[in-house]
Symmetry: D4
Subunit: 82 residues, 8 copies
């Protein structure tokens, strides 16, 4: 299933609002508020590459307090459960 | 529990070797091979901040084909299960 | 013929508007919407270096929703047709 | 058809060697030597996303004088012919 | 005690205002106006990781003329007095 | 004599206005409009390090259409005249 | 007194060796091991700008496991003691 | 006359060697050792764009201790003599 990690910079002071908005978007699977060059990282999944584009460009990037995004398409993922 | 996302650049051509090495390290929870400025992203967790440092500095960064890392400490995380 | 690749960041949500505006500018030869640190990449060509400057500075950068550009002047190009 | 733009840094002094090697790889469609933060930009296409990964990770990144790559997956492309 | 270095970009022309605002925030220990990619660097300390987050996200980032921050969590520090 | 190179990003479309404003500031010795990650590069000189700060922070950065600056302090310079 | 903050990347795995070497250099006042794009940050001071150059270029950058440095000259500093 | 500013990173410890090598290359007009993300900045000029490429790619980048370069082609320059 197509997946991506999206690195997000938010308007200063609206980190929590953006996290709340993200949590309501279908396809957003994990949300991380982080320290560093980016403010929030999300993992997203979609049925098709077209749906993934729709999710990133028309849903996540349209959250009003999102100032910029850098999307890294996932080639392969492994979840470790031990 | 202290957690971090670690953005990794590997020696060219050794992406799979690094992913295999990462999958054997305790505390590494998710591994993503990605397109973009970084080659691999991992999510790590540890019991304490000292253990997290040990994991990032003395385990992940010591994998021979790891060329550089940028670590983003997680402030808050939400996993969506719907 | 002088050519350049222009990496473009757009206002959030106006990717399609910018692509439409770009497609109407003389000298814009290829337009790519991409994932990553930039939103759109265009290949441009002009008869002279003066015309190339005009194209980049006074046409592309003046599209209202263009927020920033990074221009890479092409030294040599090869198109493979096989 | 899945496509990507790959920004490449080469070993100093081996720009031409890398361009020659790139021109022999199936799926490499356009090659640009550029001024700026990167040395070479290539446009690649493949039948599937798996083939695209193979092309970028196992062909382009394995050229000996390639020092680093940043891959931008193409969402949409338009070629202007006027 | 949890500590961090925060790299700050300010609105153009408001460097002094931001330094004054920073100097009144509890937990801000050292303030540097610098030349380079960032305008101001501060060292901050807090009793707990929660308090450190509060300090960075809800105090420093909410200063009106702060345009962006990059936070580096301190793993270990040594002050040399000789 | 203290000197610096200042890399400048301008508001889109106001490159020429900023160059004109720069050319009227005492201590600005060379002005370059460039392609790449920055829009304009200037070389500045001042009698003292205090005067250099005044020039960069209170003159150049206060030009209304200057959006951001990165200042590189010159350690040593050589002008070749052959 | 001229001062600078030096952002340091070390050879992978030699963070502690570099911190030890730094702690023996005159003029190095504070040393921070950090998470993020850089591995170590140091604050340095010298009597003159010439001595500061000597310290950064001929002492810190010559530590064998230092791979790269970015130096930010301090314009003004405030230490808060409350 | 085509001109460029070339931002150079050198091997650690060989800044002076690179500056000496640069000063012997025809077309290199100004050389600056700087603090910041780059180690040396040079201004170069050539009779033609082909000669400029030769100068940057085959002369400057082939200096043994040059580790990387970022070239910004000059669109317009003004030298202030007052």
């Amino acid at each position: 299933m197509p997946a991506a990690l999206v690195l997000i910079n938010t308007e200063i002071g609206s980190e929590s609002d953006v996290m709340n908005a993200l949590s309501k978007i279908d396809g957003v699977k994990e949300i991380y508020e982080v320290y560093g060059m980016y403010d929030i990282v999300v993992k997203v999944e979609a049925e098709t590459h077209e749906a993934l584009r729709e999710l990133v460009i028309n849903k996540i990037r349209r959250i009003p307090q999102v100032r910029g995004t850098t999307t890294m398409i996932v080639i392969e993922q492994r979840v470790i459960s031990k």
